[in-house]
Symmetry: C3
Subunit: 340 residues, 3 copies
């Protein structure tokens, strides 16, 4: 009782030799990722075994499409929601839900729920992205309640974004404002970068009105990567700040291609301070992993990661038991990534 | 890693010249709308700026398909759910979830969650439909708790519907009953209309058991439109009643095509009374807007709307701050509509 | 504004005569079921009329696809969620959300949320499957809180499953372990069967850690079917046990093909005991139904079912009013099933 999808008329037109007719059809692309594995997290002396998800990329389902309007103008939409294949969770489109109007010369105007400009440096310029036990985001997102609760560390509701067009000699950039709608979450941010000759560098800046009292959550980050032969080096500085609290993160890492595999290593140094109560602690994450590509769409992977905290540190790899101040956090995982 | 969808066998059959083979394939159509804009609502002296959605049509995602069973008989399904692109909300199919058995001669039997017959006159016979700051439904739905809480003003769960077949000389019609399932929400309603020569008129009637005590929520509406050249005139009378409360709404409006654009104007007069407590107030909505069609699938639009209340009136354009009795409500919005 | 889906390039390749090109495209299949009907449930003297769903098969929406990796290896995904067409409910993928790596020779490794091995005997070896008023599962699932609350009677979160490959002379089988993740729900189970020459028999066994105290919920079942001409006979023994409570179920049934229709009959005998409090009661279900196939994808159906309880019995057909000990439960339904 299955029913794959097609547009018979467009197909008939093609069969009759008319490529043009098909090109004028509207179309929707379905895409997604399922990424499931097994994971062991040891926080202090407590070990927890889990079926883990999203070790390489976040599991998702999405629909997108673009309509050419003529004269270099196009309209497009993008709907994408997270899936939890361990429990079957899903249903919303909170990874991204946007409509865009774009011009080849003038750039793209994008409205809806979208990634914030400042997110992209965290994602692009560390060796494990923002997924799995080795991700730098495990420490970066740990900014003691502030970044964790800011609605705009990764994405923002109610956003209006602008993206520079292609063809600026490698320069790329985007800016976003998001309405607070009389509550918290008002965001203003931008990202500017350059990519060319194996080099990719970008700067991000943002300010979010994070409390009803008007406290600002501020992010600054600067990251880059450089690819030479089989090797890619990555580095990132990421600072978060809100009133008396501040966290600085330094991330370095590398990818090394070996046949159809990629070896990944990363080191993160995070330093959190709060001048209001004297809190001052650090955490270091070291991760190493291997991705074996069975095809462009399917990979097996494994990652080993260790977080060492200073005496009062509370950084951890998420998913395990609660951690005591100063305890180490260890994670190991192996999984299957499949995209469509 | 994208994967557009197709039925290779059906396509291969077409390539081989067999249109029949493809016509016998089952098929699913994906469709939807993303509509996002910016909006300013001023209720009394309080102004709120928002990223708005659904200013022209409601954002949605849906799947539908029809199977020809032979002899003029067909089976079909329709799944459609609302999307909130400002926040990524979505997931259910509460706009419509139905399965149908239809005969060319005898009409369509439809089961599931569907629009009520009485809804369609509100939607079809006013210039702004039921979307955006200018919609007559902003006043019609405001029936002081009764219509707002009746489960059947727009749609009904648990419905069994019947639709007249085509080919009745322009006469169309539908009837619906919906099970209360031992609770509230039992609905009985019908709509009968005629369309031809630019004229479209329809009458709707319904009764919903709206409380456990058995109170009936009753709707009567009569609407019509007449298109002549670039002009289309629209008019609607819509009455809602429950026990001692009653609201009468008179709506007139027009569409005027200008090149690839449409100018829209609408005026609504709503009168709400409750003989139990002497409440008696009116509200008037005046709206004007412009839709610029970039293509059949994509438009830009803007609408300006103003609601004037009588001394104790409480009608408003939704989405803004709370309103005080008698205050005016003002809305302005501009947005992008894109369908697929 | 509809947009059926296609991959124009793949289609163009086919039109040009290249079947190979299309076969290498990734693809996603959309599939689903909508099944809606009307139902009357009479428990004791209380009757309730409902719009019912899932009388023949559970309403659902799903996406799935397979990627050939070469050398007999393949990766695949399966996302499937329930839909409630009576109310438009839906959104998650809790029917199944899995990613698989499979080898023609070595079998399939499957991770995610999936059916438990022990579920399949309940589903396959009774005449009404697990749907509608006549389903044996109406009694089987009634295991006084234990099977009802065990997370693994039908499916399990966090599972790792293994399936035997084809080509073992009719022998089939699967095993599953599921992580409790520090809470309840740890599952270990397996199913082994043989299918050939009209015969299909299978044995299932499982143990679930069902409480934080470590109580085990244990299932044993053995079922079979035998098809000869237009007749198919089905039988099942299904035992559930947890500490002092136990329920034994004996199910027999038949399908008889009459032209494009199927007559279905089933009898279930359930016996529930709890040695801790002396509870000891039985229930018998007798059901008869007819399915009229309008096509492979679309059917009309009706089912009549009666549950007789012993003096303190509390078995019932779900969906109606509460039942008093010893009362009978009666159900009748008719509906439309449509798949895509």
């Amino acid at each position: 009782m299955t029913s794959p999808i097609m547009k018979t008329l467009a197909c008939a037109a093609l069969a009759a030799g008319s490529t043009l007719a098909a090109a004028q059809q509207s179309n929707v692309t379905i895409f997604g990722v399922l990424d499931v594995g097994v994971q062991r997290i040891k926080n202090g002396s407590k070990t927890l075994n889990l079926e883990s998800i999203d070790g390489l990329q976040t599991s998702r389902l999405g629909f997108r499409g673009t309509e050419q309007l003529g004269g270099g103008l196009s309209a497009s939409f993008h709907l994408e929601g997270a899936i939890g294949p361990d429990t079957g969770a899903g249903g919303d489109w909170r990874r991204r839900a946007t409509v865009s109007l774009a011009s080849k010369d003038a750039g793209e105007l994008r409205l809806g729920r979208d990634y914030t400009p400042t997110f992209w440096n965290i994602s692009r310029f560390n060796a494990f992205g923002t997924n799995g036990v080795g991700a730098a985001s495990n420490l970066v997102y740990g900014f003691d309640g502030a970044s964790g609760t800011a609605k705009t560390v990764i994405r923002s509701d109610n956003s209006v974004g602008y993206f520079l067009p292609d063809g600026l000699g490698g320069v790329y950039g985007q800016a976003m404002v998001a309405a607070g709608e009389g509550s918290t979450g008002r965001y203003v941010g931008a990202r500017l970068g350059y990519a060319g000759n194996g080099l990719d560098v970008a700067l991000g800046l943002s300010e979010t009105t994070n409390t009803l009292a008007g406290d600002k959550f501020k992010v600054f980050n600067l990251g880059g990567s450089y690819a030479v032969g089989a090797l890619k080096l990555l580095g990132l500085v990421h600072n978060s700040k809100q009133t008396t609290r501040e966290q600085k993160n330094y991330v370095i890492g590398a990818h090394y291609n070996v046949g159809s595999g990629i070896i990944r290593v990363s080191h993160v140094n995070a330093h959190s301070r709060n001048t209001a109560n004297g809190e001052d602690y650090t955490g270091k994450l070291f991760a190493v992993g291997y991705v074996h590509q069975l095809s462009k769409r399917t990979s097996l992977y494994t990652t080993l990661s260790k977080v060492n905290n200073s005496k009062t540190g509370r950084f951890l790899i998420p998913g395990g038991s609660a951690i005591a101040l100063g305890d180490d956090s260890n994670g190991i995982e192996a999984g299957i990534y499949h995209s469509f």
